[in-house]
Symmetry: D2
Subunit: 441 residues, 4 copies
């Protein structure tokens, strides 16, 4: 890729990095993406409720959307687009229809995180002037890179002689596992022959590609509210039913849910708030939690234990608990045929020095909804990683990427799409003989 | 008191009830009080920094004051007054100078609480149309009544032939124990012969008066922040230092600080917030707590244990804790000479059916700063209660008062002030013979 | 009292100190007491099941009594006596019937504690050679002194010209609140005109006497068992229902039961055991706890919260809880007429330098069963304290007494009994006018 | 194997099952094994301190050994043998020297668990009359079967024309990871060409064999003692430093040590005891815990966090903690060459219907010490599993085995030993090309 193209990728990524928006509030981000897609020119472009059924959305936030809409408008987002996204129906799908050939999906995600980006001068986005301009919100997981890839791939395929159908999903609300389900249920996800999902980094350095991850953890998001009775903390603490104390008990015990013999599990209370003032026994507590598992069953185990923990903690302190599962995503695995194809392709991409056919993935992803849909419809799916040197872990205030990986990602994706076009239909591998499964049994 | 006066008291109290403002944010409230004082006409009126040294303030909030100033302005608060209160220097002191006679202080408090007032139709302020107009804030401790008393007493004494000096303290930030100290250190508190502090209700019914409370608990407010390290909750929970978990441990153990053989103690974590999102190991937790004790020593015991608890919880989870004591108030007792005088006076007030010379007070009050100052300067102080039928406890969303008690309070206070004028100097009682103290020893 | 008598008291006390036995296992102790009583010569002597109905006993231990019986036999306890105490029916009642006059009860307790006595050379019982000879058991609350007093008073009254009836209760199982109830229900407790109960020390120095304590806390003993499911801690921790974890949660939360506005409360988990081996998820946990309150209602509040806490903790971890109240004792107060009489008498006793008519008592006592019985039957009761310089607190491994207080106790009790004889019937005081009660209300 | 041999195996296993003895207290068990070995006749027999250096022992119990010695003597254990085991130096090693050929080790373990065996009639050992005769102790992990195998293999090889050296380790204290280390350091473990370690069951059914387990968890045993200050729970709970409360906090938080991204971890507090009586603030608490990890590093991570947790909990409650690591065992993996050989052999054993070349092992084993020693000395080692239908999990009161597996184990082991003799030296496989390692990296 020549220098001007690299510059454009960097510029686009930085521009998106400046405006992180959280799940279902990607108003400016969607508007910006749509603007780019329109410049590229596609055969079909669906925004928000045209891209999916809003009723299928998960983990829709309760709060006021207006400040986010206003901010997007202030930054120049098109009013018509904002109108179409009313109610937080963000995200978009772009389609290229180019004659005979395979139907290929590419999925990228677009939401940011509620993390305050580092203001340290040694943090590149500060030094280079593209730090988040929205207080308390940050692209700390590389979705700015993912969107850039989605747009650049769309443009490259548009300009190529590709024959077939390319559907690019710009999915909102990955961080809350809320956007994968509606995208997977939409007509755009129907009858795809192949699906490529992609992530940057994940502890793989610049120049490394993983052709397909295995075992993305199944996960769920859980909102828990504990309702007690307030009282004067000095005059009559005994008259209260202390939601704060119940919350403390729930937090303590949630982390202690037993590890499971069948595999990896996770649990986290990531956000909690309780009470009103120091001299009032807390009437209410709210927690936002998640549970994960190496299999869907393990995630269910964690989820059920988490529910029991919160409910018993409430009962212990005379309170009532309301525990809602706001979203869930299944486990899915990459297909070995696609892993092999991507491995082969990636080996020849300039700058790629090492290709791993597969790797474990110690996290969750609601791309699994789309992978599952495609696999159920008879297609093949893989979730690939394009490495980048990132100074600190994902989801930390100093996360950043090596911008060399911008071109790597575009090249690996474009070449994979072209190769799929040429080899279509990719033959299925023989079923395994089960020896390995037996051993695990 | 005739009907029109009762109507004016009710109207004033309801008007103040509609606009509750929390500690050091009583912009509209102060402006409204000042407007009333100006209508009455006094010899000296000091607002905010003229009433006390802002540097003596305790528990000053970090947050943005601007929305509160704006709201006060929108409701008609005088711009000049708002200017004088810049930085949250709210509250006022009014002085009547009327020739020879005793110097008498009256202290009332003016702040509301972060409690969402009930919207139930059976809640009188809803039925009668004076429910709080500020979401999440409420006069749930009767300070609206206290201010009404302060203004009505000022007016009544002004119109009387009282001879002496009356100083009425409209003190901000009682709920956070932040306003008593600066008021007590001000020149207005110097050389008072007598101090009357007053509270409505406290589980005493309409028609009952307590001439002086004993043992207001010593108390302190404590802010604790726990700083850890964020990490991806699915990918690498072990890389985090979990401030959420540390907070849970701190909450659990704070409530378990041992009861003390020397007397009553209290502890509460009244507000807590931690973390950012469900998939991030929490980097930071914040708690607002308080500790109380029947003596200042007992409060110190609770405070020190609370500090140790939070710090050890942080250490346990690899985090750092910062524990700040944002305010403290000492214990103080009413003087028996004033209790006797108020008892006598109250017995003759219409509507007062029962007078208790003394009662225990299971709560804290930073009026103790003023009481302590006056007692140290050689004066006498009492903290009296004017009963009211309140449907639910103080600091609950359905707290309310019986408006009959409005007149009771004015009468008891005015008559007590006049009686102090006549009996001045009130003779000191003989020191007790110590028998009782021995028994307790 | 002359020197030989002092020596005999010291010698008796030390002898009893060497052989502490826990509740309902006072085999040697009872045998030793009976031997002394026989030497004195009384009109009636009842041991174990002759002194009370064994079915009325509370907090009877589950464990094996045999080692205690064997140890008592090895030390020379009479076989016939041991036979009568079969099943742990320890304790005795001695009666002197001496013609016309009042019926006066004296209650002393005889059990030791499961505390390992200090082996430090500076600890007097070590230096003087009368340290506990039973590992892990100790007279750490002064019951050795109480028994000595009971015997010495019996002897002194026997040798005097006392006219009336004296009943001395040597009560087992005070520490577990298990022995007061059966003694109170026995015929020996019927129709007593006066009851004296007595304790040494309690933070009052040598030379001080408290004529009657007020507010012994109501209390209950609670045994809790949590049953879960064991599992291999490495292979499948998820298959267990962890009684250890449930116990940890119960302990943490029990101490945090809210303090109560109505008065003093206490809670303690004093003994706990769970699990079997480090590599097994614990199947079972056992806790021995207590709850106390300034009133019987407050004790009930603590007891009910404790039950809820343990049960919810079990539910949280998939376990079942069984919570048994093994004993309870009510609150009782000393009668002021007896307090006055004892005060007067004590003032004249040699060595007594200060007499407090009354004092608070921050602990519990099942003497309240006997006091309550006597008061219900129309008699008067008081619980008096004879001070002693004790180097460390009761219930600690270095607790000890100043042996000067041995004579003080005998003198105060004997003189009080003689004075009761002379003044009988002691006139009732007028009922209080309630003013104080109102204030407290 | 013919019927009489089966009967002898069953009889021997049941006899051993009746007399379970815990770690380093296998007095009767060792005596019984030695008796059998002598009957077989071997070339060398070492008991206790002759088999290993007692100073290398780990997790040696503090308690009184005498009751266990007495019980063994009562059941007929040889006095001379008991003498040699003084101090708890149990276990034995038997050696057959039969000319040229490989040196092959076989390791079996001999200790029972502190679990009370089910008394349910449906539990086979009850129905068949071989339930544990020692209250509270049970062979709940199948070590009775292991010993039976060790003896039967010794006999079969003795009677065969085997040429080489066979060393059978009857290792004590596997459950506490205390016996593997001294056995591994002994001269008997030197210069072995091959080591077979074996376990029954582990969720594999009768007829199934696993030729070599992978990833036995590294583990450590940790003893923690918390020392506080006792106090009277009613009179002055504040004067105590509550070891019970500290223990509760430690338990709660230990289970919540974060899961690790690098692999499986485990933690358990398996035994805990604290305090003395319900009315005493606990002075002391004792916990027996363990930590495990998929790698030695992960075990270290868990161990260090556990230490920090216990220490911080003690600090929080004013106590001191003493945390001792009483034993540790490393991770070890089976060698693929041995896995292949055992797989091949097992396939031909009558009754074996399925052979898994490898399986994960979700537990720990101190056989890893011996495996590690042999591998370091240049030999090959495998840890194989002989399946059995077990009604409930290992380490539960109703654990039992299908006695058909007794012959399976003997056959698999004997045939493997003979095959090793014939193929010796077993050629080394080529080193893997690292592709897999890269993927995991």
């Amino acid at each position: 890729m020549n220098e001007p193209i690299r510059d454009r990728l960097v510029s686009l990524r930085r521009s998106l990095h400046r405006h992180p928006e959280p799940a279902w509030r990607e108003f400016y981000t969607t508007a910006r993406i749509v603007e780019e897609i329109r410049a590229i020119g596609v055969d079909e472009l669906a925004v928000g409720p045209d891209a999916y059924d809003p009723a299928d959305r998960m983990a829709v936030p309760d709060g006021d959307l207006e400040p986010w809409v206003r901010r997007a408008r202030d930054r120049g987002a098109d009013d018509g687009l904002l109108e179409r996204m009313t109610g937080g129906n963000t995200g978009a799908v772009a389609v290229l229809e180019r004659g005979e050939g395979p139907a290929i999906g590419l999925r990228v995600d677009i939401d940011g995180l509620f993390i305050e980006e580092s203001a340290d001068e040694t943090h590149d986005p500060v030094a280079e002037g593209f730090r988040s301009q929205i207080d308390g919100t940050m692209h700390a997981c590389g979705h700015d890179v993912h969107m850039t890839w989605g747009l650049a791939v769309l443009e490259a395929i548009k300009e190529s002689d590709f024959s077939g159908r390319l559907v690019v999903f710009f999915q909102p609300a990955e961080e809350t596992s809320g956007g994968g389900c509606p995208m997977a249920k939409s007509d755009f996800a129907a009858d795809l022959d192949y699906l490529l999902a992609v992530h940057v980094g994940l502890d793989h350095p610049t120049g490394e590609v993983v052709a397909g991850i295995e075992k993305p953890l199944a996960m769920c998001h859980v909102d828990a509210t504990i309702e007690g009775t307030s009282a004067h903390a000095g005059k009559a603490p005994n008259e209260g039913d202390n939601a704060m104390h119940a919350m403390g008990t729930a937090i303590e015990n949630a982390y202690g849910i037993p590890r499971h013999s069948d595999g990896m599990t996770r649990v986290n209370i990531g956000y909690a708030e309780a009470g009103s003032a120091s001299n009032v026994i807390a009437e209410r507590a709210h927690m936002e939690a998640e549970a994960r598992g190496e299999t869907t069953e393990l995630m269910e185990y964690m989820k059920n234990r988490l529910k029991r923990t919160v409910r018993s903690a409430a009962t212990m302190h005379g309170c009532r608990a309301d525990v809602d599962v706001v979203s869930e995503s299944p486990r899915a695995d990459s297909d070995p045929e696609l892993q092999a194809l991507v491995s082969e392709v990636a080996t020849d991409v300039p700058g790629i020095e090492r290709v791993l056919p597969a790797a474990d993935f110690g996290a969750s992803e609601d791309a699994t909804f789309l992978m599952d849909r495609v696999q159920q419809d008879g297609g093949l799916a893989t979730y690939l990683i394009v490495g980048t040197d990132h100074p600190t872990s994902h989801h930390t205030p100093t996360f950043d990427v090596d911008e060399d990986s911008l071109e790597h990602g575009v090249d690996v994706l474009v070449e994979s799409i072209r190769e799929l076009e040429h080899r279509h239909p990719v033959p299925r591998a023989e079923a395994e003989d089960g020896a390995h499964a037996e051993v695990d049994g």
